[in-house]
Every structure is written in C-alpha cells, then in structure tokens.
Amino acid sequence: MKNSIYKNRMVLKTLLIFFTGIVLVSCSDDILDKQPLDAISESAVFNDPTFLQNYVYNSYNGIRPPWKPGTGGYIGLTDIAVAEETHNSASGIREYLAGNLTPDNVTDFTNMWNEEFDYLRRINVFFEQTEDSDIDKGQLDPMTGEMHFIRAWIYFDLSRIYGGVPIITKSFKLDDESFDIARNTYDEVAQFVVDECNLSIELLDGIDAVPGKVSKGAAMALKARMLLYMASPLNNPTNDQAKWQAAAVATKAVIDAGYSLHPTHEDLFLQPLKSDEIIFGKSFTTGNRIPDWGYNYDFWPAGFDARQRLCPTQTFVNMFQMDNGEYPYLEDGITVNPASGYDPQDPNVNRDPRYYSYIIYPGAGPMSIIDGAKSTTRLYEFWEDANPNPDNNPPYQNPNKVDKFNGQELFDFGRDSQTYWIKGLTPFFYRINTGYTFKKLLDFSGPRASFDFDYNQVVIYMRLAEFYLNYAEIQMALGNEDVAREYINKVRKRPSVNMPDITSSGTELEREYKSERAVELHLEDSRFFDLMRWKDAPGKVDLGPIRGLTSVTMDWTGAKEGDPLGTLHYTYGEISGPDPRAPWPGDFYYLFPIPKEEIQRSNNTLEQNPGY
C-alpha cells in the first residue's frame, strides 16, 4: 500500500516536470517579446489630439525661465546684483566676471545650449510627424502655432546668448552619416524668429487667449522683442533706422492689442496670472513647482535661514527715486542729490513705492517667517550693536528681551547680523552682504523652504510694461523724445506706483529710462541682455567696486519696550567679499563662446565666436 502511494507520487512528479518542460520550451520566444507597460506608441501620440496637445505642453518647457541658469539666472553678472556663492552657477559667474570665460569652461552657462537644442528636436519631430496628420485642422492649427512660437523663443534666446547659431528644422537620426552643421548668421536667425512668430500669429488668430498658453498676443510680443534686439546697437552697428521703424510698428501692435497695466504692482507676481497685463506667463502647481526648495529658500535673507543667492547692489538701490521724482544720489552714486531731500541716515522714507515692494533693507518689515518652531513676524534685523560690550556680551540695552512669537532671545545686535551668526545662533551668514535683499519674488505667506508646498508666485515671461518701455526706447532712437517720455510715464503712472512724470531729455532721459527699466523689470531676465544689446557693459558688468551698506548699527538708547527700532546708523561704501570684477575684456565678450566640445563634435564645421 505504502509503496504504491509512493509510486504514484513519483509518477505525478515526473509528469509535472515533463509538462513544465514542454510549456517553457513552447513559449520561450513569446516570453522574450515583451512590451514596455509604461509607454505610449508613436502613432498614438501624433494621431490623437489629446496626446498631441500633451506633447506640445511638454515642449513648452523649452522656454527658458528667468531664474535659469542655476537659480538666479544672469542678473548676477550685472551692476544691479551680486551673486552669492550659493548661486547654483556661482563658479561660472566667477569665471565670467573675472574675464576668464573660455570655450572650455562655459558649462555653467551653456546647459542652455544642450537643453534648448533638445527641445528644438522635439519641436522638429512634431512638424515632421504632423505634416500629413488626420487630426482636424481646427485642433491641429493652434498646436502648430504654439510650436512655431516655442521654436521662435528658443532661437531668440540662443541668438542673444551666442549670436548666430545653426538653424535646424529637421530632426537628426541616430544613423545619420554626418551630424556636421554650420552656423547661420545672427541676421538669418533673427529673421527666422520673426518668420516663426508670423506663422504663429496667423495660426493663433481668432483663438481666445488662455492664461499660461501661447496666444496670438504672445507671438506678436516675441516678434516685437526680437525686432528690438535686431535694432539695438550690438546687432545694428550702422544704426539703420529702418530696423528701429520695424521694431516700432511691431511694438505698437502689441501695445494696441488690448492689454492694460495691472493697477497694483505688488500682486503681479502672485497667482493667478494677471491677464490684463501679462502677455505670457506661468503659474505653479503641484506638478509644476519652482525647483528645489522654492524661491523663498533661494532668495530670502541669510538671517532667515536661507540661501540669499543674490543681493541688490547700492547701484540698484540708488535707482529708486524719491517720491518727488529725484534720484537720492547724483550719478556717481556717492554725492547726495541736493534737490532730492534724501538723508543717507534716514534713507527709507519718501521713496518710489516700488522700493518698499522690491527691496528688503535694514528695518524693513515686519515680514512673517513661516519656519516651524522658529516662525515669527519681524523686521529685517541687519544691524550690529552701536554700543557693544566686550564680545557683545550682556547686559543689553534692547528693551525687547524676547520674540513674542517664537520665544527667541533678543540682543542689541539683530538676528540678521554677523554677530548673531558668530555666536552660533544661525547657521547662515554669507561673505557677500550688501545689506539688502531682493523682495520681488518672495512669498511670505509660504514657508521658508519646502519641497511640497504650492508657493504662490508666478513666472512672467512677457508683460505690457516691458513693451511700453521698449517702445520708449525705440522712440528715443527715432528721435521722438516726447513719445518716449509718454510711455515711460505710463509705467510710472500705474495707480499703485503713481510717480511724478519725467521731463528730462538727452542723456538724462536715457539715464532715467535705463533706471526705470531696471527697477521695473529686474529679476525678469532683462538687465543682463539689455546691457549686452546696448553694448553698455563697461562700468556695469565690470562694476567696481561694488557698493552697499558696509556697516549698519543700532543704538537702543532711549528705546522703550515695544519699540521695534532704536536709532539706526548707516555706513555706505565698498563691500568686501565679492570677487573682483576684471575690466571688460572687449566687444567679443558680448556673446558667449560656443562650447569647445560642440565644435570638435561638428568636426570644426561650427565656427567659434571671434575673440575666444
């Protein structure tokens, strides 16, 4: 009995093994023929209008945001800002400012090269794949219009960084015999951008603008901006008036397209997109966040436990007029303008309203800092003790002993001072401190640093105020100073700003225009490229020395409990810390070099920019 059970089991086992063997052999070919489970097929993407629109939205990311490269962008190369070592591209900024940029060390700034060409390929694939598409024209045309805009934007951006670049309208294939391609001239690229914009305008005509989406107005604005760059001194050495005329016509078309200045400037950079003024912009969502830990962590003052990637220079602070329309300083930045009523020991009164919105200065605030147990509402305390005891030890004169929000002990020196850091009370204090911080992009309703908080800011690529200013510049070049003043004054007459009209002419008008533009458009990726196209780098990109508040002290004598401030004393001068900026190396430096490896890979078909 036992024996037979055993036998049966054996038979069963053998059979099982036998069948398993058969099964494995017979289907082994199929087993290896797997398909990826997370993929969408090419034909689905280019024949389904929903998928295709998703493809187009992905391509939108080829539009470089103003905070790239790194977090902070190119503004740290100008006279209005100095970049901290915490800027993601700090080493590249140092190379640039030291006059040492070469085709070998451009990587920090030329991520843009590879990235933008990557998106160009996606766009070219779109055009190739949709040429004979069955998708309804009413659905396909707007997408095609958006793609022409994005391609135009990328080439516009490449042309202001590198000058002429190869115009590529076909996608390369892996088995292409040669990848060699030569550069087109700047004029060819610029014309290509204009042509692309015209196609986009045509295809998007009659389609309602949706905030965040490319519209006919956006295409008109990009075209106008391109024409302004083409007319600018860098690209128009003979000052051909026809180029200015073309820019004037295109810019006026944008101005007349139905946009209007948003009445308040302070909420322009907060959600939702203010579609009265913003021609093209992007807000953030859970899946489309400000990168990394958010703007706050990148731009808040160091004393708020943040990275403070950029500091405004005294040069920039001086560009904010008094509310009587006078600059606080004469053009040397040192001599007080006697007509202004400005007092260097009381510098924060009666300034342009935008000063209070855009600059954090010692004593500015109160601002709410949301940071867990350290959360509080306080001023920017960038001051040292005016009457310190040895080693800044107690007793202290500050009548306020404790922060009532978070219980932090208070001292005579502020919580944003170097002493606070030396005493080990904050981990952050950086070498470079002008005493000021940029405020434009900050969100004090959001936390100090967060990966998963939906911050309230938006990115603005193009807005009407820029085109008013562009138009003023064009009219100055055409000799119509009255029209120029009219349009500058439109920007100054925004209800929340309401600054007196400017009345100057000639070089004074030019100075006022350029300062107005810097104040209005700072951190919007404008200043650096303005200096380039104006050929106005000497004394600005190579600004030296960099001025700021070298010392701020607080005298608490006579202050009573609850007083937020005692008496502040300001010392202005050259700040130490920033790497020295080398003299402007020459005209060749108005364009970046093409990465050397790209030239080698093209078997020297690409030509380097002269001078490098």
Binding site: E42, Q53, Y55, T102, N114, V165, Q271, T285, N288, E598
Partner: protein, 420 residues
C-alpha cells in the same frame, strides 16, 4: 581533464534579431605531479590549467530598440496642471550583447607534502561591443537623447600570485600566506570627442583616463610670468602649464590624456598565524597601490565648505610665495584640472588581528562547561605605511579630495565564548 560548456542566452532587453547570444567555454587541466617523470619527493602537487570562455552582458535599460513615449513634464494652463508627453531615448534597433572573452592560465604547485604551496594565474580578457552612449562624439545640437549602443572595445590583463607555508613544530603550528595581484586595462577603441592632438586620445589609455594640463611649476615671481608661455589672465600663485603643442598659446589643446583612475592596480595581503597549545593568533596585513587620489584645494563658505589644514598651511599667498601648493580659488584656465593634483595611493595597514585562548578541557569540565574561549580582536588598527599621510585627508582607501569621507572604522573587541 577537459571540460566544455556553452550558453545560448536570449534577453528581452534586445530586439528579436540580436537577442540571442552563443557563449562557449572550454577548460583543461593537467596534473603533472601524477606523471611518472615527476619525482614524488619534491612535488606533492603540480597542476597546470587553462581556460577560455565568453560571457554576455545585457545590463542596460530594456526596450532601447523601441521608440516610445511617456508622460513627462507638462505645463500649467489656466492655473491647472496639464501633463506633458515626451519621447524617451531614440531607438537603437541594433543593440546587442556586450561580450567578454577571458583566457586564463594557471599553475598550482605544492612542495614537501604541501607544506609550501604556490599558485600563479595569468589572465587576459577582452570586452567588445561595450554598451554605452555615443555622447562624446554626437553634438548636443542634434538634441538626440542617446540610447546605449555597442561602441567600444577594451583589453585587460592581470596576474595573481599566492604562496603559503605551513609548518608544525610539535605543539607549535605556524602558517603564513601572501598574495599579490596586478591588473591593467587599455581602451582599444571607444566613442570619443574628435580631439585636436594625438596625445588627447582615449584610445590606448586605461579606462577612466581624463584630460588635464601638465603642471610644470607655480608662478612665484614676475620672472616666472615673463619667462613662460602663459594662459590668459595668468597671475602669481597659479600653476604653470606646459605648452604641449608648442604653439605659443596655452589652451585646451595643451591638455593631455592622463590616467587618473581611482581603482588600485595592485593589491596585496599577508596573513600569518600560529597555534600553540591553547593559544592562537592570526594577523592580516593588506595594502594596495596604483590608484590615484586628487587633492582638493577648494574652500567655500557654507556647509561642506571645509578644506584640508594642509592646504590652508601650504598654499601660495603673498606672504608664502615658496608654498608647495598654488593659490586657492583661481579662475579661468588656472583653475583647470592638472596632473599636479593627482597622487599615487600606496598604503598597507594591519587589517585584522585576533588572539585567542581556549581554556583547557580538564579545567572546564568540572564547571560543566564544554568550551570556553577568551579572545581579543581588532580591525584597522594602524597603518603600516601611507604615502598620503601628510595631507591629513583620512583613510586612503576612501578617496575624498578634502578627506571628508567616512573612514574604515577601527574596532577593538574583547570576547568570551562559553558553551555549556
């Protein structure tokens, strides 16, 4: 002895046409000591063996032969998130197995009743169809996101040697063993940037070789600046680079291909021990040479910005113009990588140590204990030799430029094992 083996491997990672790979192998051995012409009293063992074989490697991302699309970064329209779709890598329909062919020749010998043993292995391997991306030669402006392709060939060869000796002197049993290995590799061809100068080619150099300048000194005085070919904006305290192509300009064409590999070429060990009655001891020394370590002279503010004290004390400053190291924080070509910073790593350390005492059985059995062992152990107790000692960069086995790495732990243990 003769053996054959073969594999016929199919991988879903590759497309149908190139999916299957045939990888044969053969091995042979000859125990010479069994032959009659070998005197038994000299060789207790003598064996010659040889093998040859091929093996395939498919360790790359699957489906690279299919053009596919997937959800990716999108855009925000009217305040809401809309997904994007993007193409993954460009398909490579020709992708196939990477093949490594290895030939090994070995000799084992034992003398005097295997008191003295000896083993020698020589091998040579050649890897072809190496899977990698052609990112070096395809320009970025093509926008191609590259798949893996079969683009390279590399040879390597090496030698391993082991010897041991074992002797009983009555109660005293002694043994010692040593081993040493050496290997090197050479790229036969690989995808690379079309270089301007022959000395920049990757071909013929070890895997991982990089382009660096050849440092020939430090600009210490104005006359150094006057008497050298200088790069743009060269200044005092920076490294002097050699004009390798003699064109009177220092630029990236003067970089040369340099073996900066962080992997050791040679490793060695020495193990000895003895047993004497109830005591036993074993000690292991280990070491390596041939890896390169790069000294880092960077200083930054903020966390992680610390540098080495050696760098702080030995860098060029206006007060210390005879310093061993150049100034810190140069920009431009002066900041480029050069052979100046690379140092050979050569070290030997006491890796482990154990001294034990087993209590004699007759003592323990009275207490009902079957086994009692008392021992003391130690790991990574000290360096016998470390040629990088002066830099203070920590454990040379973990090569961090500023020494900011977690070293091997030095552990000491005192133990007692009791069995009832």
């Amino acid at each position: 002895m003769l053996g054959f083996n073969f594999r016929y491997d199919g991988s879903p990672i590759f497309p149908e046409d190139t999916r299957w790979g045939f990888f044969p192998g053969v091995s042979a051995g000859w125990v010479i000591s069994n032959e009659s012409f070998i005197p038994d009293n000299v060789f207790s063992n003598l064996k010659l063996r040889a093998s040859w074989g091929q093996l395939g490697n498919d360790r790359v991302d699957p489906f690279q032969y299919i053009g596919k699309f997937a959800y990716g970064t999108g855009w925000v329209v009217n305040g809401s998130e809309i997904r994007g779709i993007e193409a993954s890598t460009i398909p490579n329909p020709n992708i196939t197995w990477e093949v490594t062919e290895t030939t090994d020749l070995g000799l084992e010998a034992g003398f005097l009743d295997n008191k003295f043993t000896f083993e020698l292995d020589v091998y040579k391997s050649s890897t072809s169809n190496i899977l990698g991306q052609r990112q070096a030669s395809i320009p970025g402006y093509t926008g191609l996101s590259l798949p893996d392709e079969n683009i390279g060939k590399m040879d390597s060869k090496g030698i391993e040697f082991q010897a041991g000796y074992r002797q009983n002197f009555g109660d005293f049993v002694f043994n010692v063993q040593g081993n040493i290995s050496y290997n090197e590799n050479k790229i036969i061809y690989f995808d690379e940037v079309p270089q301007s100068e022959p000395y920049q080619k990757l071909e013929g150099m070890p895997f991982g070789s990089i382009l660096v300048y050849k440092a020939i000194g430090i600009y210490r005085t104005q006359s150094d600046l006057d008497n050298n070919v200088n790069y743009a904006n060269a200044s005092l305290g920076e490294l002097i680079f050699e004009d390798l192509n003699n064109d009177g300009v220092i630029d990236s064409n003067d970089q040369y291909r340099y073996d900066a590999n962080a992997f050791p070429k040679s490793q060695f060990g020495l193990n000895f021990g003895f047993i004497y009655r109830d005591f036993d001891l074993s000690v292991l020394f280990q070491g390596q040479s041939g890896a390169k370590w790069r000294l880092d002279n960077g200083f930054n503010s903020g966390a992680g910005g610390n540098g080495l004290a050696y760098v702080a004390n030995n860098s060029y400053t206006v007060d210390n113009t005879n310093a061993e190291l150049p100034r810190v924080r140069p920009t431009g070509i002066g900041a480029s990588d050069s052979d100046f910073w690379y140092h050979d790593v050569f070290f030997a350390r006491l890796k482990s140590f154990e001294l034990g005492y087993n209590l004699p059985n007759n003592v323990m059995s009275k207490a009902g204990i079957t086994n009692l062992r008392l021992y003391i152990t130690g790991q990574n107790l000290f360096m016998v030799y470390n040629n990088l000692d002066k830099y203070g960069a920590g454990d040379p086995e973990f090569l961090y430029g500023k020494g900011a790495g977690y070293p091997n732990m030095r552990t000491m243990g005192l133990g007692l094992n009791i069995s009832f």
